[in-house]
């Protein structure tokens, strides 16, 4: 039964819904500062996104203290994307339609990044994907408005494969979370290692569900394959569980492990003194990088936040700087001009000079590969070297083929 009061309450609710947004008339660009929209999974993945936010806030303050860009200050409107692609599209829409953002940056999860990238192409807004690892955001599903900063899955896997090829190990097993990132990491690693070492034999694969690894069972299943070496892609709680059960059951004795991202403080520091020693990892040895640009960044960061930088901090910082530099270079806040400016733009980052390649709009930011060890109860990378992204990304001709669908 519908009563009149029901109808009244509904009308009220819809009115509240309609009036709840102060953005009835978009505030627009009349305001003095240049508005930039930022979104990330602050509530879903705080461990990774809070250091990232610190990073971009530090960069923002530096930019504004130096007078902003085009003589105007920059204002960043930052929102939580809830870790869901559909919600992220709503947020992106709000940032563009209501807050008048001239550029978007942020996102962590690959599918959230892809959804926002597609939105950016539809609405013709420049978007710098900060952290998503999936390479399809710049290759198969790349679009003219989307740029990505962080080195993707392929580059990380390529660096590990290069190291792995130098090992005597012949029998390799893999363990990776069962979703796009895990699948593409394993595929890239297998292809590249087999190319460098045709004698390598792939003895088996484990695909635990993301965040749901049955660590003991997985470890035993891997041990039963009797591999010489293991390629690991698990991270987060899965990694902690895998490492602990692996140590308990002796899986890592006399075996080499090559592991994606496990040298990043964001993922390895929760393991503390129990970080697995001897693993070959990609990561970020913030404590040992002594280039002038990195030392300056680290000092400023530690002074301001009383905490050490994570990789997320570097990514947030650099993305913010890239956005500002692109607007400065474009000379206006026009979307097409910013996109043109970003293509092929080179800039300084805490990890050295990087360039947004014009062929796929991927930055050439590199990463570090080294051996994991424990010093003073803390996970540390030793014997590391820096690999420039430009050296590992596919060349322009090959990339153009990957982007052919555009």
């Amino acid at each position: 039964m519908i009563t009149r009061r029901d109808a009244l309450v509904l009308a009220l609710a819809l009115n509240v819904a309609a009036l709840g947004w102060p953005g009835f008339a978009a505030r627009g660009e009349a305001a003095e500062p240049i508005r930039i929209g930022e979104l990330n999974s602050y509530t879903t993945f705080p461990a990774f996104t809070v250091p990232y936010r610190n990073g971009w806030q530090m960069a923002l303050d530096e930019i504004n203290a130096a007078g902003g860009v085009l003589g105007r200050q920059i204002e960043v409107v930052s929102k939580d994307d809830g870790g869901k692609p559909a919600d992220a599209v709503t947020v992106a829409n709000e940032l563009v339609s209501r807050d008048g953002a001239v550029l978007l940056f942020g996102t962590l999860l690959s599918n959230v990044g892809l959804a926002v990238a597609d939105f950016a192409a539809q609405r013709k807004v420049p978007f710098i994907a900060a952290e998503p690892l999936t390479d399809s955001i710049v290759w198969e599903k790349g679009n003219a408005y989307t740029f990505r900063l962080r080195p993707g899955t392929y580059v990380q896997a390529a660096m590990l494969a290069e190291e792995a090829a130098r090992l005597p190990a012949k029998r390799w097993a893999t363990v990776a979370p069962n979703y796009e990132y895990g699948k593409s990491a394993v595929e890239a690693f297998k292809t590249l290692l087999s190319r460098a070492r045709p004698d390598v034999e792939w003895v088996g694969e484990q695909w635990p569900a993301l965040n749901k690894i049955d660590a003991g069972a997985t470890v035993q299943a891997l041990a039963a394959l009797q591999p010489d070496a293991i390629f690991n892609v698990t991270f987060g709680t899965d990694l902690a569980k895998f490492v602990r059960e692996g140590e308990n059951r002796g899986l890592f004795e006399n075996r080499v492990v090559a592991s994606m991202l496990s040298g990043e403080p964001d993922w390895i520091d929760p393991l503390g003194a129990e970080a697995p020693e001897g693993w070959i990892v990609t990561g970020y040895p913030w404590y040992a990088i002594e280039t002038p640009e990195h030392t300056a960044f680290r000092q400023a960061y530690m002074q301001r936040f009383q905490d050490y930088p994570r990789l997320g901090s570097v990514v947030g910082y650099t993305t913010m700087k890239a956005a500002a530099q692109a607007i400065e270079k474009a000379g206006s806040t026009d979307a097409e001009a910013i996109v043109q400016a970003l293509r092929g733009m080179s800039m300084m980052s805490p990890l050295g000079q990087i360039e947004f390649r014009s062929v796929d709009q991927q930055s050439t930011m590199g990463t570090f590969v080294g051996t994991l060890t424990v010093q003073e109860e803390k996970p540390r990378m030793v014997d590391w070297r820096f690999g420039d992204g430009a050296a590992y990304l596919p060349d322009a001709a090959e990339t153009a083929k990957l982007r052919a669908s555009e």
Binding site: M1, I2, T3, R4, R5, D6, A7, V9, L10, A11, A13, L14, A17, G20, W21, G23, F24, A26, T43, P46, A47, V50, D80, K84, P85, V89, T90, V91, N93, E94, S97, N111, L114, A115, D118, N178, Y179, E180, W207, A209, N211, D214, A215, G216, A217, T218, Q220, A223, A224, G236, T237, A240, K241, R244, E245, E247, N248, R249, G272, E274
Partner: protein, 613 residues
């Protein structure tokens, strides 16, 4: 062979935590009929509490034991607070409303845990005494696994003694069988319910604590375990403790061997097995039919009547008002309103089976999502135009509901709810893993509206029109003889059968109609967002739908609309304003259910009739 033995032992150890969480859930459900979504949050808090207590004592074996004891006690206390402060006030409300309240607790606990323990995972330092290796047939197993293997049966035996050898246990069993009778005998039910809830929470806390040596305390533990715990409870049979243990072992073993035999389909395996078990044994392995869950007759005691003349005018006036909104509202507001309309249809379709059909679905997102995927796949693979894709949506969703529904309507109460959940999860895993067809977790991009519908106001009108027509049709169906026969089957199945109503067929058709209606909304949703991801099929989407229906008022025709507008509007507004949106939303929901225990409209209408119950 030795590998099989070792793998089986590992599975047994894995079963311990799962059993502790599930058995608490099952006990609470058996006595108070509360479907407690917050049970996973208790588990998570148990792990965190154990971590802190263990660190305070200085770690080691002593620290771990102290941590486990503290976690158990602390969670019993928290259970007391939640039961007395919140749930106790809601027992008179429609039974599923408590589900909304516990959902709000989940939201609150997520922010609370983040605020207290911070974002980083907390790994309990290795306890050497527990990781002492034991050699079994040449394989190394940690001692702790054997502790866990022993713990499950010990807890089971303890609970069995408690329930069969103490007066309290006898009362609990009596209350599980027949609550009213216990009350009539002069037993104070309230403290009985409270004590069971505390016991359940304490078991969940202990479950979290004993898991700590194997997994760092982290912010995703709550939602990680809750679905599995429900699966265990239902597979074992609601209210059966031995069943819960059996099911926990079955599921843990299934996973231990599943990863060896089918490493890539572990996602779906769990739910596929549950679906098979429920189809073959509708009340779980050791369950009995009489504990089937919320009684459908508590919903919608009043048959629908055609709207009166004056009201029709009011509705028409309301629609005219909505038509006028684009004249003064901005683009973003219009898109949010479109989203609200779409969710209103989703909620209305759920209410159609829930309120009128008396069928509980925890997996209604399956049909919404099938609609979204149907539309997106039509665009992506067949280059379909937007109207064609929108027509494909209800066809795909309706077909899905027809197939799944055939199995689901054979069950009732929570068993049916869990079977719908199983099908939704199976659909989700297919969408998640079938990369070539659905794009997997990277989804389908580029599903944007055709130029004629691209502007926010055009899309607003399109959704308003489609949703209005669909909801009107649902209303027509429920006011037609079909709808009355459906209510008859809900309220008195046997009598309806005797009168010649094919109740099961009626329910099946209603389920399919609701599926098609939800899918219509899903199709629009795909175009609103421009992309489709497996999330549209996932559990949170189903829960959102339930929350909308119950928030609005399960037995009110306009309830889903009010619920969708309130929930979606609040969520978008608050999450845009603050990072603490989860606790704010949770707090508001708790306030709403305490003030309006029959839903926002339910209370208003109920008072007019001098109280419905």
């Amino acid at each position: 062979m030795s590998f099989v033995v070792v793998q089986a032992l590992t599975g047994l150890a894995d079963a311990a935590s799962l059993f502790l969480v599930a058995v608490g859930l099952s006990l609470v459900f058996g006595v108070s009929r509360i479907v407690n979504f917050a049970h996973g949050s208790f588990y998570m808090l148990g792990a965190y509490a154990a971590y802190s207590a263990s660190a305070a004592v200085g770690g080691g074996l002593l620290g771990f034991v102290a941590g486990a004891a503290t976690a158990t006690a602390a969670l019993a206390g928290l259970g007391l607070v939640v039961e007395v402060g919140l749930l106790r006030r809601l027992y008179a409300a429609p039974e599923l409303l408590q589900l909304v309240a516990t959902f709000a607790v989940v939201l609150l606990v997520q922010d609370l845990a983040l605020a207290v323990w911070g974002p980083e995972d907390l790994l309990l330092p290795r306890v050497p005494a527990l990781s002492e290796p034991i050699i079994v047939l040449g394989h190394r197993l940690p001692l702790y696994d054997f502790v866990l293997i022993a713990l499950g049966p010990l807890v089971l035996a303890g609970l069995w003694l408690l329930l069969s050898r103490t007066r309290w246990g006898i009362l609990i069993r009596a209350a599980t069988e027949d609550r009213e009778m216990v009350a009539a005998l002069g037993i104070d039910q309230r403290w009985l319910f409270t004590s069971v809830f505390c016991l359940g929470a304490a078991l969940a806390g202990l479950g979290g604590a004993i898991h700590l040596p194997r997994e760092p305390a982290n912010l995703m533990m709550d939602l990680g375990i809750i679905a599995e715990a429900f699966v265990v409870v239902v597979v074992g049979g609601m209210g059966s403790m031995a069943g819960a243990y059996l099911a926990a072992v079955l599921i843990a073993e299934l996973r231990a061997f599943g990863i060896v035999l089918f490493p890539e389909i572990t996602l779906v395996l769990l739910f596929a097995v549950m679906a098979v078990i429920l189809v073959v044994r509708p009340y779980g392995l050791l369950g009995r039919p009489d504990v089937a869950g919320p009684q459908p007759s508590s919903f919608d005691p009043h048959p629908a009547s055609a709207a009166r003349q004056g009201l029709r005018l009011a509705i028409v006036a309301g629609l005219v008002g909505l038509v006028a909104v684009p004249l003064f509202a901005g683009g973003f507001t219009l898109q949010v309103m479109s989203e609200i309309f779409i969710f209103a249809l989703f909620a209305a379709s759920l209410q159609f089976i829930l309120g009128i059909g008396g069928m509980i679905s925890f997996g209604h997102a399956a049909y919404f999502g099938l609609g979204a995927y149907g539309a997106a796949l039509a665009v992506h693979h067949l280059n379909a135009s937007m109207p064609l894709a929108l027509i494909a949506a209800p066809l795909v969703g309706g077909l899905g509901a027809l197939v799944y529904g055939w199995f689901c309507v054979r069950l009732s109460g929570v068993y049916m709810a869990m079977l719908t959940l199983a099908f939704a999860q199976i659909t989700w895993s297919v969408a998640f893993q079938w990369y070539d067809f659905t794009g997997g977790d990277n989804g389908i991009l580029g599903v944007w509206p055709a130029p004629w519908a691209a502007s926010p106001s055009a899309f607003y009108y399109l959704s308003l029109a489609v949703v209005t027509i669909a909801i009107w049709l649902l209303r027509r169906i429920s006011a037609a003889p079909f709808g009355f026969a459906l209510r008859a089957g809900r309220d008195a199945g046997d009598r309806a059968e005797a009168l010649g109503v094919d109740v099961r067929r009626q329910r099946w058709l209603a389920f399919s109609v609701a599926g098609a209606a939800a899918a219509t909304g899903g199709g629009l949703y795909a175009f609103l967002k421009g992309s489709v991801f497996p999330d549209v099929l996932a559990i949170p989407m189903s829960v959102d739908g339930l929350v909308m229906v119950l928030l609005g008022g399960i037995d009110r025709a306009l309830g889903p609309l009010v619920g969708a507008a309130t929930f979606t509007g609040l969520k978008i507004t608050i999450s845009s304003a603050t990072d603490l949106w989860r606790s704010l939303l949770g707090g508001i929901i708790i306030a709403v259910v305490l003030i309006f225990p029959r839903g926002i409209l339910g209370t208003v209408g109920g008072q007019r009739r001098g109280g419905a119950k």
